[in-house]
Subunit: 200 residues, 2 copies
């Protein structure tokens, strides 16, 4: 089956909103989704980007309002997290570990982590929270807690970040369809057009 690539950071609200619909969009066109966690902080070091909340008050205030309004528009539960943004390296490493060890559970885990953060206001920077979320979707929490410490897992996450930067990613979510890059939840309609009719 053909694929579609979805690069995301667990602390990106628009990644969360897009993650709730990307699989149904892909499956309409007989695609599966490759989910790739990245760390936007590491990307921003190279591209000069800044978190949407670390900007002039006008833009950060609007962004917070837009997160919630966009979530409502797309019918996705959302509650602005108390701690935001936060470090997502542990959650991202857990995702990387799962994709090698329990690939059947990786997407469920991703959705559960996003919801824990953006709907339930849980602090997903903490390993205990990540492990607990993992357990909720049927993953061995002890094995996962050990897995995120593996050097190969750390290296693989770093490789994902490097690959993203090399391919021109500067924000999240970023979606690639047959090499064409789309940035942002608000480009999903264009992603769908591309899947349906090809290049435009």
């Amino acid at each position: 089956m053909k694929r579609l690539e979805f690069f995301f950071d667990f602390s990106s609200p628009y990644s969360y909103v897009a993650s709730e619909s990307i699989e149904s969009i892909a499956s309409k066109y007989d695609r599966t989704v490759d989910f790739t966690p990245i760390l936007l902080g590491a990307v921003f070091k190279v591209t000069g980007g800044r978190p949407l909340t670390d900007l002039h008050a006008s833009k950060s205030g609007y962004s917070a309002r837009d997160f919630a309004r966009s979530a409502r528009f797309f019918g996705v539960p959302f509650k602005m997290p108390t701690v935001f943004p936060l470090a997502t390296v542990t959650a991202a490493r857990a995702m990387v570990w799962l994709q090698a060890q329990r690939s059947d559970k990786a997407a469920s885990f991703m959705h559960a982590v996003f919801r824990a953060f953006f709907a339930e206001d849980r602090n997903i920077s903490e390993l205990a929270v990540v492990a607990n979320v993992a357990a909720q979707v049927g993953i061995d929490a002890t094995a996962l807690a050990a897995g995120v410490q593996e050097q190969s897992v750390k290296d693989r996450l770093k490789a994902h970040v490097d690959e993203a930067i090399a391919r021109g990613v500067f924000g999240a979510p970023t979606i690639f369809v047959d090499g064409e890059m789309f940035w942002g939840n608000d480009r999903l309609a264009q992603v769908e057009r591309w899947l349906e009719r090809g290049p435009f």
Copy 2:
């Protein structure tokens, strides 16, 4: 008739694309559009914003691609201007002058200037080009050329910029519906939802 506010800069590609559909969206819900020209350069001085092309190569390269792709997606003619961005103060002052002197022609003029820049690659920073475009839509070009020099016109444009900043505008297009702010062509679907069903 109820209104809807549309703040734009003539050098903003997403303002151009949105300008091509905002009136039809508004009229579906019995609204008219108040078009307000602003100068993003002046806004950015306060908000710290930067033009989309004056960023890391990844983002500026993607943006240029996205301008054209988004225009195709929305069925709007687009050709990346040779000179971009450029100074839009003369075109903006002409718009302000028209809104006082020939308000019946202001929207036609705006559309013609946008198309001259983004579809016909004409240098709209030049008064001669702005005057020529004005003449094409039935405006007295000589009167307009004099009008853009009036102090009251200059002051009114500055007041528009100040008002925009005071109301939280940091980019363009920015649309206000009953006080609710929406930034970007990619929020038009949310604007339409708001017009149709009210706050969400």
